[in-house]
Symmetry: C3
Subunit: 166 residues, 3 copies
């Protein structure tokens, strides 16, 4: 019986790790469609109630403001022209009931003929497992404009990789 017990435990551990990774892919993949269609409740539900979104250049958004920033003039301007907020596949470091995902985001805006990349940045997503699934506690986003800070955000994610996955 020990053999079966050990195999079940190994399976349960691996299955949970794969399911957690996929759940975080899914969560991050909903961000763009949510903000580009003004799905305010969906954006709100992506974050924990007291979560934060720090996009640089101004005070980080907290709590309700995270989703309400969709009503801001900048975002409304994107949507009026036609916009895509596209997330790259993140790499994810799982640590039990928390996780960190690191990836790139790009905002494409229609200029009447082609789409310009008007924002392109690095992202650090700090996440927590909740009764309602994985949610964002803090997202940090910095434009990749040649400065050090946006590059350091990428390096910070890599520093937590187990050496076997590097």
């Amino acid at each position: 019986m020990t053999g079966i017990e050990a195999r079940l435990e190994a399976l349960e551990r691996q299955v949970r790790e794969s399911a957690d990774t996929i759940a975080i892919y899914q969560l991050i993949a909903t961000y763009g469609p949510a903000v580009d269609s003004m799905a305010v409740p969906t954006v709100r539900d992506m974050w924990v109630a007291d979560g934060a979104y720090d996009a640089g250049g101004f005070e980080p958004f907290h709590g309700e403001r995270v989703a309400l920033h969709l009503y801001d003039e900048t975002h409304q301007g994107y949507l009026a022209h036609g916009a895509l907020h596209v997330m790259s596949l993140p790499f994810i470091i799982l640590s039990g009931d928390t996780a960190v995902a690191t990836n790139y985001s790009r905002v494409y805006e229609y200029n009447g003929e082609t789409w310009d990349v008007v924002r392109a940045g690095s992202n650090r997503w700090e996440l927590a497992r909740t009764d309602g699934g994985w949610k964002v506690t803090t997202r940090i986003n910095r434009l990749l404009n040649g400065e050090q800070e946006p590059m350091e955000l990428l390096a910070r994610g890599l520093a937590d990789l187990p050496s076997s996955a590097r």
Copy 2:
């Protein structure tokens, strides 16, 4: 024995869900490489025999026409210049033997120096499990140009998210 039976059933359910999600990622990830290399049989096999591709602006393609549109002048022009059809990571709603995936697509075309984004749109992929794996029954694609319909396509996918995943 009940304990083992219950654990096996829980594992089988979760493993199937992860495997279905990954199989759909893989299917959608083959679309760009297939159309950009004129792999007509691969595109045909991605859809069910009577599948549809509704790209807006003209009559939807049905059945054989889905793959044969690769011979159209527009597509041939992309390939002559150099083109990438890039799919973003979709979010996926599984419902047993059917599923819906929502994501962004972008067509990049080489201008001799850089690559322009000449199409950028929202996508709804309706999928079915078949004896030959997951296949597309209908793909709807709309350019994100500031109109409502392409944004509604995104919202329609989000509406089916279980609230725990939002």
Copy 3:
């Protein structure tokens, strides 16, 4: 007992396949953040010790040169302006302890206002399972500029798809 043994074996096979696919997603997702933050050891660890990176247009890099190319003038120029090396979701053919992943890469460079796509190409990643996890043995990258070779790289990956996944 046979029933349980067969179910465990089926689960172990499927769980390993999903875990391998996700591990390769994760490996490829670390490439951009690593090169864009000058994480030289991370890039080195992505490849096997005698691995190769063939980017076309010059001699392929081998061994230590794979990671050391980050110090080259071209790459340093990208970082000075602000750059993203973004990988699309690959499709992956697993064959036991080796695998092939096919996808697109794009390099976005900041021009002071928007980000230009200054490189866009097809990729073939040949991979091996090692004691340190999945690693790259050879990466081939070709710009999609209207020539045949970059398109053939995509077709080559598709040719190995099981027909059920096409």
